[in-house]
Symmetry: C2
Subunit: 106 residues, 2 copies
DNA sequence: GACTCATTTCGACAATTAGCTAAACGTCTA
DNA sequence: TAGACGTTTAGCTAATTGTCGAAATGAGTC
């Protein structure tokens, strides 16, 4: 839980997650969206991976990143619940993706 | 927004917010709940204040900390909204406090 | 004013973080 | 094998963080 919030505390990493919301993306494409070096981005990816917020899949030469919605969900709403907030049940916004594409559990 | 997530990234500070959820508390009482020095706790309070998550009120010798629910709410659900999540409208859990006590806007 | 209590500020320190370049290392494709 | 893609390591800054003890401040009390 702490690792998730730690991961979310950096704007670059939050933006990566937001990009991933629209669907899985290769590392290079994500990296190109930010004005930092590849090693720096790779470090950000590692933080997200360690927090369980993303998972990787190798597709040929590239490494594809998948957002793990459930982990983000659990951290955010798990914490929110402590404050008496609840989210709408089954009111997840249609993302334009199939449910399997959304989380892409392997 | 970044400052809120930064504030939330520390377990001590998250617990402080949780303690404050039950109502305003003096700095000393909050500090006593953690195995760190007073100056350290004061630094944590400063982070929470800078993020707007808490506000202070002087009451005699002591400084009373109030949770700013709305700020926490906005950050958490503002971010969640980016991912297509919504919270139940007006389904805030009864806290046993009056609405004015909950946020305690001055 | 002096004293006490509560809290913050002040230095200091070690650890962590984000960033860089350069180089090395896998893994796949051509 | 050579290139492309991405990660990792090394070595280096600079800034931030969490922590402390000691001192300073603020507000009430004697």
């Amino acid at each position: 839980m702490s690792s998730v919030f730690k991961a979310l505390s950096d704007p670059t990493r939050r933006k990566v997650l937001e990009m991933l919301r629209k669907g899985p993306k290769p590392a290079g494409e994500l990296a190109d969206a930010f004005p930092v070096s590849k090693p720096t981005m790779s470090a950000h990816f590692a933080v997200l991976r360690d927090a369980g917020l993303v998972e990787t899949e190798r597709q040929g030469k590239q490494v594809i990143y998948h957002l793990q919605m459930s982990v983000l969900e659990d951290a955010l709403f798990g914490f929110a619940k402590t404050f008496g907030w609840e989210r709408k049940d089954d009111e997840r916004q249609p993302s334009g993706l199939t449910p399997s594409e959304e989380t892409h559990h392997e």
